[in-house]
Symmetry: C2
Subunit: 346 residues, 2 copies
């Protein structure tokens, strides 16, 4: 254990030890090729011997670049946002960028936290828009580049998201074509644009067939909300024969509660989820869901933001929306799966 409170090694000490100026030390670090091999070696040796690492803030101040991306997430429960974060960090690291994370959950003043974040990073990636003030993204984007992942489109904001309407339409259509006639969508279209798009697909599938869609059963992404919906369903006289849930958590809770109450899933009631979390394959019945290219979304966002920061993307090319495809994964819970022999792993 090295002694604490030891002043950190600076570029001056390295320079002195190597018998050169600090400019040369800096060059060895940034553009080694413009330094003569001889002195380069000498400097490098001094660096190694002193275990010198340039100070982050000094670098940032002088170079006017933080080499850091900010990441704002609504929360970190469930695998979805965790995977977004992991994918982003991985992609950012590949670009030699650090990642500073802010979670909006249980933060009384997220706007303040976001503004604070903006002073430490070169750009910000905002995951979703749930729980964030409407103007937050816009106000941040006045300061530094902002890319939104799976959130609302806004002028001047780059958006990267997965397909929502198409898979929802396909899934709903599948249930309708199997003869189901009273489907309900479970989720809160007002809470997030993703959910709104999924509901739009649910509606579209009905309209495609000249049917009238029922209104959504509003539920946030929590166990409690799922329990409440289950209770509603069990009380109602005209129970639906299919549920298109806005995420897997809701689907799982619903399956649990309804099965416990004697409802046969999927025979009496077909249920589908969204996100294809790991547990989806371990429930009975196995859960039909939609798999999003989460890591790719994150990586794409990181790449675009970095390009914007470095100036590789001009004003004119900024503010686009990128949509990546998502895949429907058919399993038992929707009642239309073919008999399968494959294993449980993907």
């Amino acid at each position: 254990m090295a002694p604490r409170d030891t002043a950190a090694v600076t570029i001056y000490q390295v320079a002195q030890r190597a018998g050169v100026s600090i400019a040369t030390v800096s060059r060895v670090l940034k553009k080694p090729d413009v330094v003569s091999p001889d002195t380069r070696d000498r400097v490098q040796r001094a660096i190694d011997e002193l275990d010198y690492l340039p100070d982050g803030s000094a670098r940032s101040l002088a170079a006017r670049r933080q080499e850091t991306h900010g990441l704002i997430l609504p929360e970190l429960t469930g695998a979805y946002f965790a995977e977004l974060l992991a994918g982003y960090e991985s992609a950012a690291a590949a670009l030699d960028q650090s990642v500073m994370v802010v979670l909006a959950a249980d933060k009384d003043d997220i706007a303040r936290a976001a503004r604070r974040l903006a002073t430490h990073v070169d750009g910000i990636a905002v995951m979703g828009s749930a729980g964030l003030p409407d103007d937050l993204v816009l106000s941040l984007s006045g300061r530094i580049p902002v890319v939104v992942v799976a959130g609302a489109e806004q002028p001047g904001i780059e958006v990267v998201r997965a397909e929502n309407t198409v898979p929802a339409r396909e899934l709903t259509g599948r249930l309708l074509d199997a003869g189901r006639r009273s489907l309900r969508f479970v989720g809160d279209p007002e809470a997030a644009v993703d959910v709104a798009h999924r509901y739009a697909g649910f509606v579209a599938a009905h309209r495609d067939r000249g049917l009238e869609p029922a209104p959504a059963m509003v539920a946030k992404f929590t166990e409690e909300a799922g329990v409440k919906v289950a209770a509603q369903l069990l009380e109602s006289s005209d129970r639906p024969d299919g549920l298109v849930c806005a995420n897997d958590l809701l689907a799982i809770v619903l399956i649990d509660r309804l099965q416990t109450a004697g409802v046969n899933v999927p025979t009496d009631l077909a249920i589908t989820g969204w996100d294809d979390i790991l547990a989806a394959r371990y429930l009975r019945p196995r859960l039909t869901s939609v798999r999003q290219p989460v890591r790719q979304l994150a990586a794409y966002a990181a790449d675009r933001l970095h390009s914007r920061i470095t100036g590789d993307v001009s004003d004119a090319d900024w503010g686009r929306t990128h949509v990546l495809p998502a895949d429907v994964v058919i399993r038992d819970s929707c009642g239309t799966a073919l008999p399968h022999k494959e294993g449980n792993l993907r």
Copy 2:
């Protein structure tokens, strides 16, 4: 959308607009009480009008403090590390500290990433020790304060962890006392100290009763490892009557595979997990597990690290190990649960 490439507002512009020196502006921000109410208002107005935010790197450089904690996690699959991260960020935010995250997974040179991280933060919290070079923590701690969460104890390193041996001993004892006589532990005691401690509890429970514990069935925390162990069990002639798994994922995979093969859980085979992930309550049988105080672990680590950074904790008081209790959660899968009427939610 504000014009891009606009130079950011600096303290000088605020000072000029308010008709004061930059020192006064700085004081209004840091110690408002030492400046007269009159000028304070004037400065504050200028700050608001210009939407001034002090530059992060300049602040850090001058104040010699980053106001940022570094967080190193092995990965982010599964809820455990995600909750640690969430808990840490929350606690750090309460202390007005930012959080910079590095994931060790799929990083070819984690040591380099960690050193890089150290130049941007005031201290580092390392979650676990899996996948990290042995000397990494020690070498980092020579540079800045390091706290380890659920990792190995080392001289000069502060450790915060949950109880492992006690719950494992309790759980194993419970199975033995129920008459089970051929138990196996599933997990890799070599991979992480947590797991080693859990296996120690498994062993202790046997010794307590004059029994000889079987060796652990080595498995990492992956689905594939679980599948492999399941295959081993199905092939073996003398199948155990109980499995104490090092985490819930392994338990879930094992239940799935063994049930599919016709084994009755828990009658033929009792199974327990660890971490009490959400899905544990939605499987059949419901999974007996151990609940760790994850958020508290993280918050405690953040508090300690911050105290160390601010100097509130002296050299002499640094390097301790803090152990928080973990709770055994009895459900159906261990075969010793009482009939229950409670709901599914905690």
